[in-house]
């Protein structure tokens, strides 16, 4: 089974690395991820451009917010989700 690579950065601050997961995987994953973590900050790393459009829409529809989208390299982004 394919697994997600995730770490705890700090208290209530997590990073889930979805680089290597093509679209639409990040969009499908973020709903479950936002539901699962209780509160704080979740950094979602993605490398498909569409995720920078799709993921914030799903997050906002769930009543949470995307506070930053940072390009961290060629074709790679960090989407900062707060709950």
């Amino acid at each position: 089974m394919r697994e997600l690579n995730a770490i705890q950065v700090d208290d209530h601050h997590y990073q889930v690395d979805m680089r290597g997961w093509v679209c639409p995987y990040p969009k499908y994953a973020v709903e479950g991820l936002v539901r699962k973590f209780d509160r704080g900050r979740l950094d979602l790393l993605v490398d498909c451009p569409s995720a920078t459009e799709d993921v914030p829409k799903v997050v906002k529809a769930m009543g949470c917010s995307v506070t930053e989208i940072n390009q961290i390299g060629g074709g790679e982004w960090q989407i900062v989700i707060t709950k």
Binding site: R2, P24, Y28, K36, P49, I69, Q71, G73
Partner: protein, 386 residues
């Protein structure tokens, strides 16, 4: 939020939809409409012949031709160069490796798309988008296969994602260092170099009298830039209607088809290539579209989608592209005849035979309105459930 420079900003969907329709009408007026899989099938047949296996190309109007001399293949090369230039200029290119399960899905998706394209025929953009604009009865009918096919493929992807998320435990996550942003890249410079190669190649073809080759290369690049910047993905458009209850993408695709249909109908009504992209229609249209629909979801893109992602550095798309090419390229060996011949295929039917080009256009608009209404119904159901 950080201010994003213009070259990195995605184009709004409405810009992509209008630009796509204008480019398709323009390219039809120049020579032909958009579609990429028949050329890919010819490439696959060429590989078999180079390996010593004699096989004809599956589509008779796309005969075996050296790739750099094949005028239709110019569209595919143009898409690859246009996407690569746009992706590099916006710093979105990356050599993306995949988990082995992704390569297996791409292989399966490519094989299914390869069979789908010769059974339907041809592909999602050619068989649905261009064919509907060209007033081919087959165009609207492909939806009956592409929609459930894409849904089934999407369900498999969603199930795989849900399993991975379910296995995460936020309370027992290992501590680690976050990934830091890297310094600026040379991608824009390489993108400018790719653009120069594209223009030089078009200039060379024009200089030796192959103006159609030059034109289709540039039109292909234009399509590549439109797809890459607007993210107007036809696979996603079909898949997300029933998976997410979100039909935004498809609604813009339908607007694009409506605009393009007017242009195609005017050209055809004036006697210009009246049977262009009017394709065989029958049970095979729906069956082939269903097979193609499952395949494009698993592969992560339709014919244009995998060409586009290949040029963005998705190795998953490379596998799908090769698998699709080699499968479709073997069709004459498997079936014994070309696409459109024999027991499997029906006859091409133009909607213009029902009340002329005005009547045919009206039928296409009725279909588009019905599909649009279906999407609104699905979206309303989703809102009710939420």
């Amino acid at each position: 939020m950080n201010q994003v420079p213009f070259r990195k900003r995605a184009w709004p969907l409405w810009v992509g939809a209008i630009a796509l329709a204008a480019a398709n009408v323009g390219m039809f007026a120049f020579m032909r409409a958009i579609g990429v899989f028949p050329q890919l099938s010819m490439w696959g047949a060429q590989v078999y012949n180079l390996a010593g296996v004699k096989v004809d190309a599956p589509f008779t109007v796309y005969p075996l031709t050296p790739l750099l001399l094949d005028v239709h293949s110019m569209i595919n090369f143009g898409i690859v160069l246009g996407v690569a230039a746009a992706a590099l200029l916006s710093e979105e290119f990356k050599l993306r490796k995949e988990h082995w399960t992704g390569y297996v899905a791409a292989l399966a998706g490519g094989v299914l798309m390869g069979f789908g394209t010769v059974i339907m025929p041809p592909c999602n953009v050619g068989g649905f988008y261009s064919a509907t604009m060209a007033l081919s009865l087959s165009g609207p009918l492909t939806v009956l296969g592409l929609l459930p096919g894409a849904y089934l493929g999407g369900l498999l992807m969603k199930w795989q994602t849900q399993r991975a998320v379910a296995a995460l435990d936020f309370s027992a996550m290992p501590k680690g260092e976050p990934v830091r942003a890297r310094s600026s890249s040379a991608q824009p410079l390489i993108g400018a170099a790719v653009s120069a190669v594209l223009l030089a190649a078009a200039g060379y073809y024009a200089s030796v009298g192959l103006t159609k080759h030059a034109g289709l290369l540039l039109f292909g690049a234009l399509f590549g830039v439109i797809f890459q910047r607007s993210r107007l993905c036809f696979t996603s458009a079909f898949r997300e209607i029933l998976i997410s209850g979100n039909g935004t993408l498809m609604k813009w695709v339908l607007v694009s088809i409506a605009l393009g249909t007017i242009g195609f109908a005017i050209l055809k009504a004036n006697g210009y290539q009246p049977m262009h992209f009017v394709l065989p229609v029958g049970v095979h249209t729906v069956a082939g579209a269903f097979i193609f629909g499952v395949g494009m979801s698993l592969a992560g893109g339709c014919g244009i989608g995998v060409l586009w992602r290949s040029a963005e550095g998705y190795t998953r798309a490379w596998v799908a592209l090769l698998a699709g090419m080699m499968t479709a390229g073997s069709w004459v060996l498997i079936y014994g005849k070309h696409v459109g011949e024999g027991w499997l295929y029906g006859k091409p039917v133009s909607l213009a035979q029902y009340g002329g080009y005005v009547g045919g256009t009206a039928i296409v608009f009725l279909f588009l309105a019905a599909f649009y209404g279906f999407i609104l119904f699905v979206e309303a159901r989703k809102r009710e459930r939420a």
